[in-house]
Symmetry: C4
Subunit: 194 residues, 4 copies
Amino acid sequence: MGKGRLEAFSDGVLAIIITIMVLELKVPHGSDWGALAPLLPSFWSYVLSFIYVGIYWNNHHHLLHAAGQVSGGVLWANLHLLFWLSLLPFATGWMGENHFAPLPTALYGAVLLMAAVAWYLLQFAIMCTDGKASPLRRALGRDWKGKLSPLLYLLGIALSFWQHWLAQAIYALVALLWLIPDRRLEHVAPRPEH
Amino acid sequence: MGKGRLEAFSDGVLAIIITIMVLELKVPHGSDWGALAPLLPSFWSYVLSFIYVGIYWNNHHHLLHAAGQVSGGVLWANLHLLFWLSLLPFATGWMGENHFAPLPTALYGAVLLMAAVAWYLLQFAIMCTDGKASPLRRALGRDWKGKLSPLLYLLGIALSFWQHWLAQAIYALVALLWLIPDRRLEHVAPRPEH
Amino acid sequence: MGKGRLEAFSDGVLAIIITIMVLELKVPHGSDWGALAPLLPSFWSYVLSFIYVGIYWNNHHHLLHAAGQVSGGVLWANLHLLFWLSLLPFATGWMGENHFAPLPTALYGAVLLMAAVAWYLLQFAIMCTDGKASPLRRALGRDWKGKLSPLLYLLGIALSFWQHWLAQAIYALVALLWLIPDRRLEHVAPRPEH
Amino acid sequence: MGKGRLEAFSDGVLAIIITIMVLELKVPHGSDWGALAPLLPSFWSYVLSFIYVGIYWNNHHHLLHAAGQVSGGVLWANLHLLFWLSLLPFATGWMGENHFAPLPTALYGAVLLMAAVAWYLLQFAIMCTDGKASPLRRALGRDWKGKLSPLLYLLGIALSFWQHWLAQAIYALVALLWLIPDRRLEHVAPRPEH
């Protein structure tokens, strides 16, 4: 399995996820401001999810760039990541339609948390496949962003049941953290494909 | 018709199938656990179908890798396979919404069965096109997984009408069987494209 | 504009069209045969449209293969073709849900007719761009299939209002005609890209 | 990040946007002309949006062709453009279903306006990344189309609340302006990728 086809399939799935989320922005029946206003929470949810998928797409490219071989483990770790990201349209729609009610907001955070865990596993699978000489291992270093994000998601999930706006703020904060490109991975020379 | 474009089109269709299945996870109207609980069967159906499409995507790559030429027969055998897989979102949604009622569970198995038959035909079309020297022919060997799966699907369809949970167990078992990568095909040296 | 990107975009649109058509197969609410039976017309419509998109995808590849340059005219002729094909899911869904009522059956034929006209225009645009030496011009020859199909679609549209099953038979007949690969185009040596 | 993957992802998103818009053409319940007639505004909206996405796809190719490096800024400027275009299916559906009511018509213009602004920012990001020698800078020249379009969109938004047909005419006029391929960018020799 070449990296090229793994990238192409992942790009395809991410492109579809980012686009079908807009289908959860249900066209309202009225045609005045009163019909549009209830969609504002859905719109905010859509913007946030769009940014998250964009971040994953961007970092996914850098991650695969630093990977050497694609083993069966890497492949399934990648599908596992895509699985959790594929739940984003559902979680986005539920959170938006219910105007950030506690449980939907917590579920949204849980999907982000599971995607972060899946990302961690994907990194781990790539490093295991490439062995001790893995350029990814050296590049990641202490990986503070990767370790901090799940903790922040957990905090967001907990806050959902108390002050849901704080949860939103935390989800937005993590997105901002990751918007800054991951320079560690950008500077890794890719290993040739086998 | 080059293998590259056949792969790209198949990847595109599989990426869309795996992603639009999530649209059958209808966003519930309430925002509490009571609204989420009825979705659990749909969620399980989604997980199972996601794994199946992932398996087909993975093995499809290995199969085409071992193929030589792409004839018109191979092309239509491939579209035939994509046809049955494209029915998975429908079968998944129906089975999930009806909480594994007998007929939807049987139909789900029937779609899996037809996809397995289509897979068998695609293998056959590739071997016919490549003739006696087909590397696929040697690699497949006795193909016990390919022969066992349809029998298990038939068993699952029959059990749907008696104990539908047994049918689910069998569908999951076949998925597990195939999760193990098909090492026969992995080790085949691809023939150059013509 | 290279042929490669035109092909990739067209493949993407065709892959999405062929897959979202299944969303018009609405998951029924009941879980017995009585719930499934009304879907049979929709299923037949889906099968027919799936075959049509498959045919267009296949022949589109051969057509572009025989094309030399991609001009702005070719590009918009191609988008024009994709436009009519993108209406197939709508026409398929309307015909299926209304159990082949006259007007939906005629509209389905009209969409097929417009796609055939768009196909003809795309051939024309390619030949104009490539000039007198166009390999497509020589390969097409008298193009009896291209000329017969619109007439048959027109016949099908007319018969929709009298005996709609005859219209279905004609639509299926044209599909069969085209299932046979177009050997004229297969044997054309492609001209190098400019 | 190579230009190739940026193009492939953008093509994927644009192909999905152009295709899922047809899902907003809801299949009517009746089967006569009376059921079809209310869809005419939706159909016109669909045609207009299809042409706009086609234009963006075409010009996006030329724009990236003239770009040198792909920086993080270019990448996010590109995702920003895709974000606004991804709202087109929603805006198209709302405008069509409400038969060109003032607010939906204005919102449609606002989405077009924001996409034009995003396009301008993308051009700017590419020129900043490539520095003074940017071939895009020289090619764009005075960029009268890029400067005129936002003004026309603003005019269209204002006219939506007075005579909505005038707004439609202006949106169609801008599309016609851009249908003419942008010869400035076509003739730029691309710089090699870094």
